[in-house]
């Protein structure tokens, strides 16, 4: 009656063995480290690089735990997080070409790493780092979309020689007015040709014949999704530029993006880089009109646009953009040898380079301007009331005007960056690409490394004490069966750790709490079974039959209780964010593993020990 088929026994043995195997790497812990890479991926670092890094570190009085080269990359292990943070500040300026990133290197033996066995990923609250939550400003993105369409419609009508009265973009549409119905229809036909996304509607409420161009909700959604995906891509490359080894950049909900940077302790710089919308434009300077007059009247002559230089001087530039941020293939910062001021060195790609070549060829001796475009956020209205959502305004500033001395196309430098920091940040932003839609930060959390360590220590301590308490109680209360339950509990913990090491999730403080809760529920499963066995024994049932009924009859209660808790966990997982999600994950895992260990695990053990003893008089329960 109480004998498991062989396959079931083996199943338990295999699951336990696999659990121990995959939980193993966690015993070794990890070191705060710096991941150091060669300037390009086809160069492999050598021992001489190790010596160079070592000497820089010893100059700063830092002794690394070890330096090793793995697949052409260097891993510098540190004794403490403080050393790690200090070292990266020392290393970065000395090895500008290389990339250095904050990392955590596992201490497990190499064969485990080769097998791809990882450790439990730790959440920010346990490891320390910076967390940002950004909201994508979709309204202003849509507005810009219509502004862009306004410009392209204008251009298209002009090339087709259709005269329009006005073309005006609003927040949700573009309205075009014409002299007569015939022109309007012609314009409408021209623009709607091979345009399957926009909706063209004739209007009757304007003085002139007109039509509006709008986007359907579906089309809006497609574009907005695209903008968010684009923003995530850009944020990823910016994070890469910041040098973080295991960042998280993820969409959250409808229009939010969460960015987590483990190990980073400088939220100021990270925020400045991540949220920046800065980009560059190259335009020719208009020398035919008077910029002061334009500034006074606020009206730029046809084909020009009014700008201001850094010192406040007005300047007129041609409307035509020669090249802009999106045409860049590379950017780096440095000092301009001629002027001795900080500069950005840029490389242009195909169209940008071609345009630049044509323009410089035709305009030698004429001035060209570099426009620095950044976004500024206004958090308060005129009456100083806090706005629900900041208003983003674009700030455009001419940072450099230089005479074209010769023909150039793909590579050149921009001086006039002011400070070295600005040059470095601009180069970084240009490399990482521009954001498709403006972002604003709605949440920021910095967790210092010591706080993270405290959280781990106290969480572990709580678990250990809780466990000891349960162990002692179960042994006293259920004697040998208590011991079996305790063994199951340990296996349960090992399985949870193994699962957390395999699946890509991170353990948070509420996650530890989730584990503690499932421990309570695992104990409950065994209590239910054992109480049932006691009841059966009390009414004089045969021992083997009592064991059988105990497990059998308790099963439906245990299953129902676990299923309902699982439902609550799934809801939490689906609707919760951040730490709450972490709690839900461990709760779900814990319910699954505890059902296995408390029911199948203890049963296998009990069957193995008692199943073949038919004349059992009493149980140690």
């Amino acid at each position: 009656m109480n004998i498991y088929p062989n396959w079931k026994n083996w199943l338990v043995v295999i699951v336990v063995a696999l659990g121990i195997f995959f939980a193993l790497p966690n015993l070794f812990g990890e070191d705060p480290a710096i991941q150091f890479k060669a300037p390009s991926s086809d160069i492999e670092l050598t021992e001489s690089d190790v010596t160079a890094v070592q000497s820089v570190l010893s100059e700063a009085g830092i002794t690394p735990r070890s330096i090793e080269i793995d697949k052409g990359e260097m891993v510098i292990r540190m004794n403490s997080v403080a050393d790690q943070l200090e070292s990266i500040d020392v290393i970065r300026p000395r090895f500008k070409e290389n990339s250095a990133a904050l990392a955590f290197a596992a201490r497990s033996p190499d064969w485990m790493k080769t097998l791809g066995m990882g450790t439990v990923g730790l959440g920010l609250d346990l490891r320390g780092g910076v967390h940002f939550l950004y909201e994508v400003d979709l309204d202003s993105f849509v507005k810009t979309e219509f502004e862009k369409y306004e410009a392209s419609a204008r251009k298209r009508l002009r090339t087709n020689k259709i005269r329009s009265e006005t073309i005006k973009a609003t927040d949700t549409s573009v309205v075009l007015e014409f002299k007569d119905v015939a022109t309007r229809d012609k314009a409408s036909a021209t623009l709607s040709q091979d345009d399957n996304g926009r909706t063209f509607t004739n209007l009757n409420n304007t003085s002139n014949p007109s039509f509006s161009v709008t986007l359907s909700d579906e089309q809006l959604k497609v574009r907005q999704d695209f903008a968010i995906t684009q923003n995530i891509t850009t944020l990823r490359s910016r994070v890469e530029e910041l040098g973080v080894s295991e960042p998280l950049v993820q969409r959250q909900g409808l229009n939010r993006i969460v960015v987590q940077l483990p190990g980073v302790q400088d939220p100021g710089r990270a925020d400045e880089i991540l949220g920046s919308t800065a980009t560059l434009e190259f335009r020719l300077v208009d020398q035919d009109n008077d910029p002061y007059k334009a500034a006074q009247t606020g009206r730029a002559p046809l084909g020009t646009k009014l700008y201001y230089e850094t010192d406040g001087q007005p300047i007129l530039l041609k409307r035509q953009v020669i090249a802009s941020g999106e045409h860049l293939s590379g950017a780096s910062s440095g000092i301009d040898t001629e002027s001795g001021s900080p500069a950005v060195f840029v490389d242009l790609t195909g169209i940008g380079a071609e345009n630049m070549l044509q323009t410089t060829k035709a305009n030698i001796g004429k001035p060209m301007a570099v426009v620095f475009i950044s976004q500024e956020k206004e958090f308060y209205d005129e009456n100083n009331n806090k706005l629900d959502k900041p208003i983003t305004t674009e700030k455009q500033e001419v940072i450099n005007v230089a005479t074209i001395n010769g023909v150039f196309s793909s590579s050149f430098r921009i001086s006039g960056m002011g400070t070295i920091e600005r040059a470095t940040n601009t180069a970084l932003l240009l490399r990482a690409g521009a954001l498709a839609a403006p972002l604003y930060k709605v949440e920021e959390r910095t967790i210092g490394p010591s706080l993270g360590q405290d959280n781990i220590d106290s969480g572990m301590q709580a678990i250990i004490f809780g466990f000891i308490g349960i162990f002692v109680f179960m042994l006293l209360y259920y004697k040998k069966f208590g011991l079996y339950a305790n063994i199951a509990l340990i296996v349960n913990l090992v399985l949870i750790v193994a699962l957390l090491s395999i699946i890509p999730t991170s353990l948070t403080l509420p996650g530890i709490a989730g584990i503690v809760l499932t421990v309570g529920m695992a104990v409950d499963a065994n209590v239910l079974i054992f109480e049932r066995i006691r009841e059966e024994l009390a009414v004089g049932t045969d021992v083997q039959q009592a064991i059988y009924s105990g497990y059998d009859k308790a099963f439906s209660s245990i299953a129902d209780a676990n299923v309902t808790t699982f439902i609550a966990a799934v809801v939490l997982f689906a609707l919760g964010t951040g730490p709450v999600k972490g709690f839900a994950v461990t709760l779900m895992l814990g319910i699954a593993t505890s059902m296995f260990t408390a029911i199948v695990g203890t049963r296998a053990l009990v069957n193995f020990l008692y199943g073949k003893k038919p004349r059992l008089a009493d149980l140690s329960i």
Binding site: E444, G469, A513, D524, E535, A561, G576, F583, A584
Partner: protein, 309 residues
């Protein structure tokens, strides 16, 4: 070792009217507290700035408060956090200042006051995030509740389903009541704890229900009230053991788990105590009050049998 040498024979259901009065009073009191005292909501919900600072030696709060006041943070709430070496500072959303300014400024104010000050953590939360969290928390609780209601209906009968849901709502309101009356810090972790309370209380309720169902079907010619008393008594040892072991872990979490988890653990402690009581008095008594009988259960089993091929 045993708590009871033989199955006890407490007449739980006799006292169900008294229990109902007590529970209704506590619920009314909790709702009164929600209305008059509200909650001590953390910045997760209200938005604002939270700064955690560590010092190498014990520090007094008054000088820090003073320094922050003169530094332009009149609304700063300053308190010790765990030990007297750690300080928690809470600010309302800072009008007219951007985050970067506040960050730099507050660090310089604090280190000017005491050069030992070491920033351990800093959070900014926008007001819109908190508003959403409140709404999502409510939605999560309602969704969980309805799904659980359906599951129990499917597994048992609607009397039980209503009984269990009533017990859950009872537990959540009373737990919230304690948080409101004693103005205990309510943050995002407490929200997770409330979900865990729902899970735990349910666990307890279902275990008792399961026994009631079994006994209602197995013991004929007995009043449902008697069957309930018997079932609860039979499960009493288990209820005590499980509540005790779970309380053991959660208390260890409360005492040793660190400041960040204290509110969470406290919510669980309250939830476990209230949940144990409610699975006896609210859940079972409601099912009884709704007139559950043996006949209600028998056809369900028959139907299931017939449906099976």
């Amino acid at each position: 070792m045993r708590i009871f040498s033989k199955t006890p024979n407490f007449k739980f259901m006799d006292k169900r009217k008294i229990a109902a009065v007590v529970s209704l009073f506590l619920i009314a009191f909790s709702i009164f507290s929600f209305a008059t005292r509200g909650f001590n909501l953390g910045i997760d919900f209200t938005g604002g700035v939270l700064v955690e600072v560590g010092y190498t030696n014990n520090v007094e709060l008054q000088p820090i408060r003073q320094a922050l006041n003169t530094g332009g943070y009149e609304d700063a709430v300053v308190q010790h956090y765990g030990t007297t070496k750690d300080v928690l500072i809470r600010l309302l959303p800072q009008e007219g200042r951007n985050d970067a300014e506040v960050r730099d400024n507050i660090i310089s104010v604090l280190s000017a006051q005491n050069s030992e000050a070491q920033l351990r953590g800093l959070s900014f939360v926008g007001p819109s995030v908190g508003k959403e969290l409140k709404e999502n928390g409510g939605i999560a609780a309602m969704t969980a509740l309805s799904l659980i209601f359906l599951y129990i209906w499917f597994r048992f009968k609607w009397h039980f389903s209503l009984g269990a849901s009533g017990a859950l709502i009872h537990d959540v309101i009373l737990t919230l009541g304690v948080f409101s009356w004693f103005q205990i810090a309510f943050d995002m972790n407490v929200l997770a704890a409330l979900m865990a309370v729902i899970g735990y209380s349910l666990n307890d309720t279902i275990v008792v229900f399961d026994r009631i169902r079994e006994n209602l079907l197995g013991i004929r010619n007995t009043e449902p009230e008697e069957v309930m008393n018997l079932s609860i008594n039979e499960m009493l040892a288990r209820t005590f053991v499980t509540s005790f072991t779970t309380l053991l872990v959660v208390t260890s979490l409360f005492v040793l788990g660190g400041e960040a988890i204290k509110s969470f653990a406290l919510a669980l402690i309250i939830g476990i105590v209230v949940g144990t009581y409610s699975s006896i008095y609210i859940a079972s008594a409601t099912a009884l009050g709704l007139g559950i009988t043996q006949e209600d259960l028998i056809p369900v089993v028959d139907e299931e049998m017939e449906e099976m091929p």
